[in-house]
């Protein structure tokens, strides 16, 4: 019961802050609302018994990525967006209509899956499933079964660092 109340409150905060991200004029306010959205998602991960991912969400997304966004916004020193005419006639109403179509398609797929026999059965027992010491269990999975994607990801981060430094240099 308490979980349901918590879910509805946090879900409402998440949706309202996401809508504020796309409708605010000032990009700094967009970034702050996005941080609020990430924190709400971290609370949802806690409700889903994913403690390590909730901590990583705050550390990586709200703590590193959004700080980088705010640095770049303030570095470029932009004002609010000017309301100019759209390059295509009627672009915004068309975007809203397509978004509504996408939402209806996604929700109908989810509800059809939820009512199908594929989703029933094998109800996870919460107490026995995901253990308390999640960090070592996830670490064991990561280094035993997922070691190849892990090493490739470290290579990807190295390439990202080199690329960013090259882009920032004025004379190569």
């Amino acid at each position: 019961m308490a979980e349901a109340i918590g879910f509805w409150i946090v879900a409402a905060v998440s949706v309202v802050s996401a809508l504020a991200v796309i409708f605010q004029r000032n990009p700094v306010r967009c970034a702050l609302f996005l941080i609020l959205n990430f924190v709400a998602l971290a609370v949802l991960y806690l409700l889903l018994n994913a403690q390590l991912l909730a901590a990583l969400q705050i550390l990586v997304y709200a703590g590193a990525i959004m700080v980088l966004f705010l640095f770049v916004i303030m570095l470029l020193n932009l004002g609010g967006e000017q309301i100019e005419h759209d390059p295509l006639v009627g672009q915004r109403p068309l975007a809203m209509a397509l978004g509504a179509a996408l939402l209806i398609g996604l929700c109908s797929t989810f509800l059809r899956w939820a009512n199908s026999p594929a989703s029933q059965g094998n109800e996870a027992d919460i107490t026995s499933s995901l253990s308390v010491d999640q960090v070592s269990d996830i670490g064991r999975q990561l280094f035993v079964h997922y070691v190849y994607p892990f090493e490739v990801t470290s290579l990807l981060l190295l390439v990202g660092i080199i690329g960013t430094i090259l882009l920032a240099k004025r004379r190569i």
């Binding site: 590193a64 770049v72 990807l156």
Partner: protein, 102 residues
């Protein structure tokens, strides 16, 4: 039924993903467009973790972990590109950057 049914998390994830898609389509500032892309990635992360909770396995959480890592690398490189473009043109408007030649 224990707690909140899974469909609610999936529908919330669908709503967040759609908000991100609409944001990419209607905004002109490339940094805000980038933020809407991050919103989409987070919606997909929520789906992964919801299913990981449903089937009681760590695979969804590990996939979400990799999505976070790739998103961090992508944000670094993407913002570097935006800053490089701004250094040349001194204006940020996605509609103006429509030719490959600088």
């Amino acid at each position: 039924m224990i707690g909140v049914p899974l469909e609610y998390y999936l529908i919330l994830s669908g709503i967040l993903f759609t908000v991100g898609v609409v944001g990419v389509m209607i905004r002109k500032n490339p940094i805000v467009i980038f933020m809407c892309i991050e919103l989409m990635l987070n919606a997909v992360n929520l789906t992964f973790i919801a299913f990981s909770h449903r089937w009681a396995s760590f695979d969804g959480q590990i996939l979400a972990f990799f999505v976070m890592t790739v998103a961090a690398a992508e944000v670094a490189v993407g913002l570097g590109i935006i800053v490089a473009i701004f250094r040349q043109r001194h204006s940020i408007d996605v509609d103006e950057v429509h030719l490959l030649k600088g």
